[in-house]
Point group: C2
DNA sequence: CCGTATCCATTCCGATACTG
DNA sequence: CAGTATCGGAATGGATACGG
């Protein structure tokens, strides 16, 4: 039987996973951030089967994460580009990356990391902070039911 | 054929997805943050089949995300608790949550959100910042190859 | 209450061949 | 180059029945 769809869940985590919670989607987004925009670039960068890539790209277009745009340099071609919604996934990639850097590598292994292209500086670890700028402790978060669109606090 | 394992990739995003990149693992972590620690609590909170839950819990134990501890209140029972490695997944949950809140709900829908249990304040959006505290623009991130354990910049 | 074992349908994924 | 079509093996997921 098909997995339950989570797209009506009240939990945003569940809905997010329903859209991007598979192995390839976020890696496609990663490639897009690295500059990939064509079918072959994604395929070579990821090494996945073409039919899988095809179906993922189609789903990501439908989900509004990618959009098709004519090639920049006059080519009569269509390219896949991140939408605003897709660009915002960058935070999730950074969170995944930092967790992986801190927990999945042993000292000495080669590893890629994000650096600022201007200064070469690396990034600080992301931290959850309250509206007033103070930091939230590990266990000090509770879920609360609100109505979307009505500013909380 | 089995999906390629990504656990030797140099990209931390790929390795992270190899460990937590399926639909249930992060939801189990979410339940654990909400206080679930027993098999039945996870099962009722998520509504997934018991065999799936069983295999996921086992894998998460093997991956060091959960650990078994004797029940707090003298019960002769074992409970699943997040390890430090598991607790650090909180950032990923927050990133997923904020993306979902911003992109997957229409105004008026009921939605859960994180608030600070002390003050009731909601959280600010996560932001990537450089070591010097300044904010990084959307496209100003490049991946760079480094060696794990050697501090970058 | 805590799982494990089995069964079955669906999906995922890779490989390959093929079209425009 | 950019996909689509098809195949087969493996994994996923739900339901149920069963043992500790």
């Amino acid at each position: 039987m098909r997995r339950k769809s989570l797209n009506t869940a009240t939990c945003p985590v569940a809905r997010s996973l329903d859209v991007i919670g598979d192995w390839w989607t976020l890696l496609i987004v990663r490639e897009a951030f690295k500059g990939a925009s064509r079918f072959s670039e994604f395929q070579q960068g990821l090494g996945l089967a073409k039919n899988i890539l095809s179906s993922r790209l189609r789903k990501m277009l439908a989900d509004g994460i990618l959009e098709l745009r004519p090639a920049a340099a006059g080519g009569s071609h269509l390219e896949y580009h991140l939408t605003h919604k897709g660009i915002q996934l960058r935070l999730i990639l950074i969170a995944l990356r930092q967790w992986g850097e801190d927990n999945l590598f042993v000292s000495g292994e080669p590893m890629t990391t994000f650096v600022d292209s201007q200064t070469g500086q690396s990034l600080k670890r992301l931290r959850p902070i309250r509206q007033d700028g103070t930091e939230v402790g590990f266990r000090d978060l509770v879920t609360k039911l609100v109505v979307a669109g009505e500013g909380v606090d």
